[in-house]
Amino acid sequence: MTKRIGVPVFPGTNSEDETVRLLNDCGGDAELVHWSQAQRLAGYDAYVLSGGFAYEDRIRAGAIAAHDRMMDFVIEGAARGKLVLGICNGAQILLEAGLVPGTGGVRKPTAAFTRNAPEPHFVCRHVYMKLAMDPSRCAITRALEPGALVPAWAANAEGRLAADDAHLREIVAGEHLAFVYAAADGSVDDAAVPNGSALRCAGLVNRTGNVLAIMPHPERDGWNFNHLDRSAGTDVLEPSGGAVLFRSFVAAVSS
């Protein structure tokens, strides 16, 4: 039986269509679930929270969505081992919901993807996410190569990982640092970080490895027609580039 992937749509979500399309182009069975039909989420095997501005980021990015009825199902599913991927605003929601890094309990955030620094401005920049852990640490990245580079677009004003020093140490010690920003050649330095993110963090994983939160958008670099490196093939509709993470996600859901 095909495993089904639910993509929750909160008021203000805006990247849901390309997320569903890339999941399906990578062999998945994904569909949208709108906030008015939250209870439908119980019937899905995995979830992808896409980007946007859920509830207009009122109070804080992801704060209201983290308490939405839809997140009750996502939180319950994550506790039962379902795979959850959050992208950009979806990642912010996962941190506000306390699912990632998961060091403080449900809806008890211990970190945040928050206002960029040193300039608190919106950033739109092509980036590379480098896998910073063993691929098997997280089910969603299991099909990636060690140190894999995933091309994506950083498009956020609040994408900087922030936490107090003790929690940052806990993130490192607990192997929650999933992805760091890197240059195209894989080298890791501050110049590759678009937003001042602590630990050069582009993504975090929870303790059990089934919930992954990433700030950049691989789905915006997911087909030949829209990624910068056009050498992957002549079919413009062929998934490529950032699709590598979606393929890995779909493979993990299907296994």
Binding site: R58, I59, I64, H67, A112, R115, A117, A163, D164
Partner: protein, 136 residues
């Protein structure tokens, strides 16, 4: 007048964020009848300015838009009754000094410390990046 002075800039048009907070707080079991939100801007005054602080803030269009904002000069640079200020831990990134949330009960009375603390703990503050300042 010299020293630190504070103004609260709030919306005189409907504040959707405040209403969303009210609905979410009620869902989380916090007893509130009304929520007001404002941005707190603080200024160091040496008493030498020719214009009043209000006049200078109202002339700064990055802070104040007369078509939608209301300005309140605070007696003290501290939260009022029923109010909590949420301040970012990293003050280096600009913006207001704090966001003020003022909660009121069913009879219009300012919320007590217990209600404010519940609102802060359940929704208004992410302790990883923010700190809550209560009235004395």
């Amino acid at each position: 007048m010299s020293g630190t002075r504070a103004v609260a800039v709030s919306l005189k048009i409907p504040d959707n964020a405040a209403y969303t907070a009210l609905v979410a707080l009620r869902r989380l079991g916090v007893s509130a009848e009304r929520v007001e939100r404002s941005e707190i801007w603080t200024f160091e005054e040496d008493g030498g300015a020719a214009e009043s602080l209000e006049a200078r803030v109202e002339a700064d269009e990055t802070i104040f838009n007369p078509n939608k904002h209301r300005l309140t000069l605070l007696d003290q640079a501290a939260p009022r009754a029923g109010e909590v200020w949420i301040r970012r831990r990293d003050a280096t990134t600009g913006g207001p000094a704090a966001v003020a949330w003022r909660l009121f009960g069913a009879r219009g009375e300012p919320a007590g410390r217990e209600v404010l603390a519940a609102a802060v703990e359940r929704l208004l503050c992410n302790p990883a990046i923010e700190t809550a300042i209560y009235s004395a």
